[in-house]
Symmetry: C2
């Protein structure tokens, strides 16, 4: 297949809030991109999830011949859902209508995020947004998943955890009779309640637990000791999660997800924590759809590093 | 009213799973007891809750004249519900049909549990069962409530927390590839799944979060390091909660709730933790209905200490 200069690759990065697709040729020239609503089959009904993925793919393909697509990688959180027979059948039937010239390889969002930070086949990726999870990547595949237990059991250092800790710090302050200012004041304002223990508990329990993630910006935005303490603990917990996933001390570490962006206070605190632990400087993940397309091109290209530089500059 | 040897008192201890009532005279002679299903208005619809409370009271009164009841105390968790106008109206209308010869004083379950351990007016009570909460008691009333934030935000050291920590320890062990034995094996068996990360996460999330409390006996029953670590951390967290509530170093400390029974491993670990912190030996709460009856008799008796000894030997 090498040297087939008409071959195309299709990459998909499917999340809970958006589905993105990218089509390129083997020189790394981007021929189209597509975007649709969230397509994660764990947070959307199967017909909707598959429709969103396919919609993003069709938009990226544009007028190009789908049978020219020789490699397709679909990355998403909860990729094990693809092994569910009912979902798999639904996916294959809808996907067949795309008319791609190849099979589609499902991989975890961690594998895509890792490739979005480095062309290396092996290392560690840490993703933190609403949730938090790390993966040990070996040969561009998931070798181990650490954390990612969800809000009930884990997600330490995630936006959910930050919001929950903000409410907990507020309750502790109110029980102590501490002054209502900084983070405590921000949490009570956000919840729309007077600074009173029972009112805060009732308000925090009034909507779905995962909505506590909406309070995370109060932590990264406040500058008092309570917020500082939560930020520091988040960085330590996230570094611990990454450390458990890490295959060795020399392979690269990739950080992904909104919370770990270099502009985010958690991303900054985590980088400082990793530096204090003498880790090499972590890489920041670029766009997932481009990384998925790069993974799709891997078996078809003789120069994966150059292609990586072109697709993920 | 002193010296009225026909006066009766009625005490009620209303919980989520049972409602108990006790009628005595002012010498501490028990004239009747009653029991009904749970009557906590936060976990049962108002008509059911009030019907259970009233049923227990009627059974305790038996053939005695309700108008002879000169003191009535009703203790329950979530007593603030009594201030809810809709619930309050419903309660008063049903309660009036009992024909008591006095008003009914609602108090927290903490105040009743404290009185069930000591006749002192001031001190600390720590209650741990499915949840965990401490109260600072002053003059037989709640002066401060510490913890009791519920499963989403807190309940550290409670049965819920023990169960959640058991699942977390299991996930950590599975991620590390540790041998499947002891607590890890017990948790997987209880959840009915193979010892596999994803299966454990899915099973633990399959029912209501509070059901994690059902895994607590696995922790107190196991004898490996993982269980030992959870038991120790529970004791430290519970002692911290009690310490925050404590008015001073000399007033009594009362322990209540199934988890803190001297036969329970958590109760034992907590007593050891308090001893290590040089606290005086804590007292163990006796039956709540008898304590509520004693509180009801307080304004009517000249010898509360003797009455306490009789009602709560």
């Amino acid at each position: 297949m090498h040297g087939d200069d008409t071959a195309l690759v299709l990459g998909l990065d499917v999340g809970g809030t958006s589905s993105r697709a990218l089509v390129s040729d083997l020189t790394g020239r981007v021929l189209g991109t597509g975007e649709a609503a969230g397509g994660n089959p764990n947070s959307h009904p199967a017909p909707d999830a598959v429709a969103q993925m396919a919609g993003a793919a069709r938009e990226a393909l544009g007028g190009h011949d789908p049978s020219a697509v020789r490699g397709c990688v679909l990355g998403m959180a909860g990729v094990s859902k693809m092994a569910d027979p009912a979902f798999g059948e639904f996916f294959r039937s809808e996907w067949a209508r795309l008319g791609l010239g190849c099979e589609t390889t499902p991989v975890s969002d961690g594998v895509v995020a890792f490739a979005a930070g480095t062309p290396e086949p092996r290392g560690t990726v840490l993703i933190a947004g609403t949730g938090a999870v790390a993966e040990r990547v070996e040969d561009h595949r998931t070798a181990a998943t650490i954390g990612g237990w969800g809000w009930l059991l884990g997600d330490e250092g995630s936006a959910y955890w930050l919001g929950r800790e903000a409410v907990r710090a507020t309750l502790r302050a109110l029980e102590r009779g501490a002054p209502v200012e900084g983070l405590v004041e921000a949490v009570c304002d956000h919840l729309g309640v007077a600074p009173e223990r029972k009112a805060v508990i009732v308000a925090a329990n009034a909507s779905k637990p995962i909505h506590l993630a909406e309070l995370a910006p109060l932590v990264t935005g406040a500058e008092d000791d309570a917020a500082e303490d939560i930020v520091h603990r988040a960085a330590v917990l996230l570094a611990d999660t990454a450390a458990t996933a890490r295959p060795d001390q020399h392979s690269p570490v990739v950080l992904a997800g909104g919370l770990l962006h270099p502009d985010n206070r958690i991303g900054q605190a985590l980088r400082a924590e990793l530096e204090a632990r003498s880790w090499p400087e972590p890489r920041t993940a670029g766009p997932g759809a481009a990384a998925a397309a790069w993974l799709a091109a891997l078996p078809l290209t003789q120069d994966p590093n150059s292609l990586h530089k072109t697709l993920l500059p």
